[in-house]
Symmetry: C2
Subunit: 319 residues, 2 copies
Amino acid sequence: MSKLLLLAQKFNCFYLTGLATRDCKPFIVEGIQVGLIRPDVLQQLLKFPEVFIVTSGYVELNPAFRNYEERTIKVDEVLKKLRTEQKFVTLKGWRNECYEVKRDFSSSSLFKMDRCATCLFGIMNYGVDITGYVRHPELGICIWFQKRAANKQTWPGHWDNLVGGGLSVGHGILETAFKESQEEASVSKELMKNLVSAGSVSFFYESQRGLFPNTVFVFEIELPLDFKPVNSDGEVDEFELLPATQVIDKICSPNFKMTSVPVVLDFMIRHGIINIENEKELLRIIELLHVPLQTLYNNGIPKKYAFGIKENGENGPVE
Amino acid sequence: MSKLLLLAQKFNCFYLTGLATRDCKPFIVEGIQVGLIRPDVLQQLLKFPEVFIVTSGYVELNPAFRNYEERTIKVDEVLKKLRTEQKFVTLKGWRNECYEVKRDFSSSSLFKMDRCATCLFGIMNYGVDITGYVRHPELGICIWFQKRAANKQTWPGHWDNLVGGGLSVGHGILETAFKESQEEASVSKELMKNLVSAGSVSFFYESQRGLFPNTVFVFEIELPLDFKPVNSDGEVDEFELLPATQVIDKICSPNFKMTSVPVVLDFMIRHGIINIENEKELLRIIELLHVPLQTLYNNGIPKKYAFGIKENGENGPVE
């Protein structure tokens, strides 16, 4: 088995097996599915029937809440209670920084939620990552990585892309890219003129904390050979520049942040470092960098998609 | 509605609507689904019950055919009869060039079939496309296109990528890229050192001819400003170099080969020409450049994928 395919399956563990095996309920707001709720979370939400209406098939945010503000406040009250009662480890890391809750990226937002809580509801989240690289005359493409500070709330001490950040309420994509580049690695404005948008990756990961249907807007920046990143917000412990040949071992190691791996793979595929000549499973890996999150909860699934899957879940001709 | 999203929906017309609405049957070989058969094709296959076993749920190649050669010969005989009887327009363009029929790209092949016939069976096909571009000092990135010769069997007189070709039996991916670069555009071996593998696109198109679940291995090559492509196999009528700003109009025009559009979009997204600032539907477009063909016929579909889709096919909370 290709180790990169294995890795792509790991960061899609919920997409590939959780969706089918975990007993989650759709989370509905204003008739639109915006998330998925695991049984452990459901157990707690049942204690707030005036906020969450639980049926056999789904969990609905009380439709009596009429607008963005009211929904935001009502959900926030519940989350703060759950936090005080220490029901969920992820709520310990309260951020006072919110993500929008919406149907898909281009829809209008239904309410906002502290970013530490969105994984309890399987809310789609969006971020920005920048791969910083140099073209070394002998070593070829080399990639910069950062080691996350040991006191970070998520993935402390793990290796990560040079620059990254979640897209929180009120901040644009380019704005986030520029802000994080400055704070995390002190990339100058002059250098940032070389920033190139290069698409996105989407995957659906699950950890003990919760569900992560993540979409990352992917950027890259070619840096001069003598560039040295300098952290200015205390969130990075060190930086390292690695030749592309050593990157696969790096991302396969358990101290690399799993949810940052897709961005590295996408970069290495776009630049021909990983290709069909050296990776037999290239096509499956590419599929797993682009799982259809924008249409997973609503709409886009053709009814006959499951040709050839039998009632018992095994594959084969269906009669 | 974004015109690029509309385009992405057009080259995925079968994926987005055909799968759900067209009454196709899975095509099974050795217990593995390798294709889909439309009613018009089924009608003809019913006349060859010794080759195709038709049940209410699927069409199976007679399992009595024991190996690659026997399957190839038996199917070929049927196709040649259908060709003589002029049952299908696509068979007029017999190529004497075969595609492998297999479960997915990295599986071993079950038999081979003339490439003009694979669309009758919805067989996955694989190709190679090269985007040739220059970085112009004033105009920025400019892309080379070819106009297909008026006598080509498919998409005659349509605009297309600089270099492209199907992956036929016995030919490797890089080999095909080099061969076609030479024949179609006379790109020198020296220049080909700049060829970069950049991943793949996958989409599922349908036309009157048949079904096209296509995966293209995507390459790009930066060319010198003074490069001029020269055709040497008679399959190209002319070439044109276009600034990126004019490319969107080009690919939206009806005289651009629809099944080559995904490669252009992918290139423009990878190079930041199409980005989230100028294309609100970027994420959906990227999803439609990577539909999960490798797992569409077999395996990878989580049973609960269709959360939120009601029995009647409409969306909404499912109870």
